[in-house]
């Protein structure tokens, strides 16, 4: 590999890495994209959603028409799961005249391969089956990567790390001291094959439309939630579980997944569907508090590797943040290479651009909500309270009916001290209002 000289090496052909490489190449930077899987997407299990963002369309005109996404999400269901009941909020959008600014479901192995192929078509050299083992540092700045084998080295004035949630390269570069269980969640997913028409019928969709079902509670008190996402001919069913909570509670993720799949909420959706794959992956979940400085001399960090992924309890964002950060990394990197200055001071423009963009602004906007989701009670006591209120609201037992407020006070009284309820209400208010 030493025969060719590269101006930039991008590590990881996920959405952050491929977009960064594509951006660099379009700016005339000789770019190498390294992927440890035997093909882009081979290591990615995610079947989730991608929310609209402008970056891919800027790089690939017609992106949203061409990219191999699966279904456009028109129906979103958020369900609070209690022991013996469940309460859902259903949102359905039928505004078909608007320009597309929504979200799509997609299947990452296919999508990642397509995106890396776009980078390749734009002139990026893509090498798969190549694990980056560490950074090469010359005179205090990052100047390349060490690859598979003992003495493989690729030198380049700029390295962009899109190496995923464990973020080993950023750690080696001294940008953070390692990620912790308290900052991360593990996602486990079962992939089920089911005919397109069956999916349409079960989720109330017409051709090409998609649905997301998300569940809060029902995880034996482990902080986290469940999901069912519709792909064209498959369903992604899984759980996302906070690692520290999983560890404390002592549950196995596959046992919780088995219960979730067999639950009354999910089992009917899967009738006759064929289980085809099981997978697991980590997700950064700590929001701004875990986002380190994302640049240093000769080095930029994008996507999950920078902690750029979150849920605020109502929606999840990750791929759009990855792609946008990859885009900005490519832009700042190309400008720096052009003037021949890849110093830390120059590349700090990347952090600034991220702070100005929706990427870090959204993380800031929902910082309190992200922190709120670390409260155990939200996943154990409160779903039961919601369930108890709804049960009594709909009950008819011959006794005179009570107002909702009175029912709620009764449901709360047995479980949560009033003072803590009020504190939580204030927290919830400050998180979302």
């Amino acid at each position: 590999m030493a025969a060719t000289e590269f101006d930039a090496v991008v590590v990881g052909a996920g959405p952050a890495g491929s977009i960064a490489a594509l951006t660099l190449s379009q700016k005339g930077v000789k770019t190498l994209l390294l992927e440890r899987g035997e093909r882009p997407g081979a290591k990615n299990m995610f079947g989730g959603t991608l929310a609209w963002c402008p970056a891919p369309e800027e790089l690939i005109p017609g992106f949203w028409e061409k990219a191999p996404w699966e279904r456009e999400v028109v129906r979103r269901v958020l369900t609070v799961v209690a022991e013996t009941s469940a309460t859902s909020m259903v949102f359905r959008s039928d505004d078909v005249d608007r320009p597309f600014r929504g979200r799509v479901t997609l299947f990452r192995p296919a999508f990642d391969a397509w995106l890396a192929a776009q980078a390749q078509a734009a002139g990026v050299t893509v090498v798969c089956g190549c694990t980056v083992e560490g950074l090469v540092v010359c005179g205090g700045r990052v100047c390349g990567v060490r690859v598979g084998g003992s003495d493989g080295v690729v030198e380049a004035p700029l390295v962009v790390a899109g190496d995923g949630a464990l973020s080993f390269l950023a750690q080696e570069a001294g940008l953070h001291a390692g990620v912790h269980a308290e900052q991360m969640a593990v996602g486990v997913r079962a992939l089920y094959a089911l005919e397109e028409d069956e999916i349409d019928g079960r989720f109330g969709l017409v051709r090409g439309q998609g649905a997301t079902n998300e569940y809060l509670g029902g995880t034996e008190g482990v902080r986290g939630g469940g999901f069912v996402y519709t792909q064209t001919e498959s369903l992604s069913v899984g759980l996302v579980l906070h690692l520290d909570s999983l560890k404390t509670r002592g549950f196995a993720p596959y046992d919780l997944l088995e219960r979730f799949v067999g639950s009354v909420h999910v089992a009917p959706l899967l009738r006759g569907a064929q289980l085809v794959e099981y997978s697991a992956h980590l997700l950064p979940e700590a929001g701004l508090s875990m986002v380190p400085r994302l640049s240093t001399s000769g080095f930029l960090v994008a996507g999950d590797a920078g902690g750029l992924c979150y849920t605020n309890g109502l929606t999840q964002e990750g791929m759009n943040l990855a792609m946008t950060s990859g885009h900005l990394a490519g832009l700042v990197g190309a400008e720096a290479l052009e003037v021949g200055d890849v110093s830390a001071a120059r590349l700090a423009a990347y952090d600034r651009r991220l702070r100005e963009s929706f990427v870090l602004r959204d993380l800031k906007t929902y910082d309190r909500a992200i922190k709120l989701l670390r409260r155990d009670r939200l996943f154990s006591d409160y779903p039961e309270v919601v369930g108890a209120i709804m049960e009594q609201l709909y009950a008819s037992d011959g006794a005179p009916k009570r107002r909702v407020g009175s029912i709620a006070r009764g449901a709360l009284r047995d479980r949560i001290p009033i003072r803590e309820t009020l504190a939580d209400l204030i927290r919830i208010g400050r998180s979302y209002l």
């Binding site: 440890r36 081979a42 192995p109 694990t131 067999g262 794959e277 099981y278």
Partner: protein, 91 residues
């Protein structure tokens, strides 16, 4: 969903050398053995006879859960060599 079936559905290209090495001496002072239940691939199993955690790298999903739940630093954790390890389906 039959739990035992799910692990059989995963495809791997197995490298002859493990990419994660467990330091059993360090492990010995662990009080929670979180790896034995938190690992989504069931790679870690408590062996009562040997009095230690057995580790099978072959079925690893490369997620990193074990690395983060281990608070003793008992794992030398690396991704598998290029092209090896788990490979998720393309379609």
């Amino acid at each position: 969903m039959n739990l035992d079936d799910i692990f059989d559905l995963v495809s791997y290209r197995i490298h002859p050398e493990p990419h994660i090495v467990v330091d059993h001496d360090t492990c010995a002072s662990c009080s929670h053995r979180a790896c034995t239940f938190a690992c989504p691939a069931r790679c870690y199993e408590w062996n009562e006879v040997r009095g230690r955690v057995d580790f099978a790298y072959e079925s690893c999903l490369e997620c990193g859960t074990c690395l983060l739940v281990c608070d003793l630093g008992a794992l030398d954790w690396n991704y598998p060599a290029g092209g090896y390890g788990v490979r998720f389906r393309a379609t």
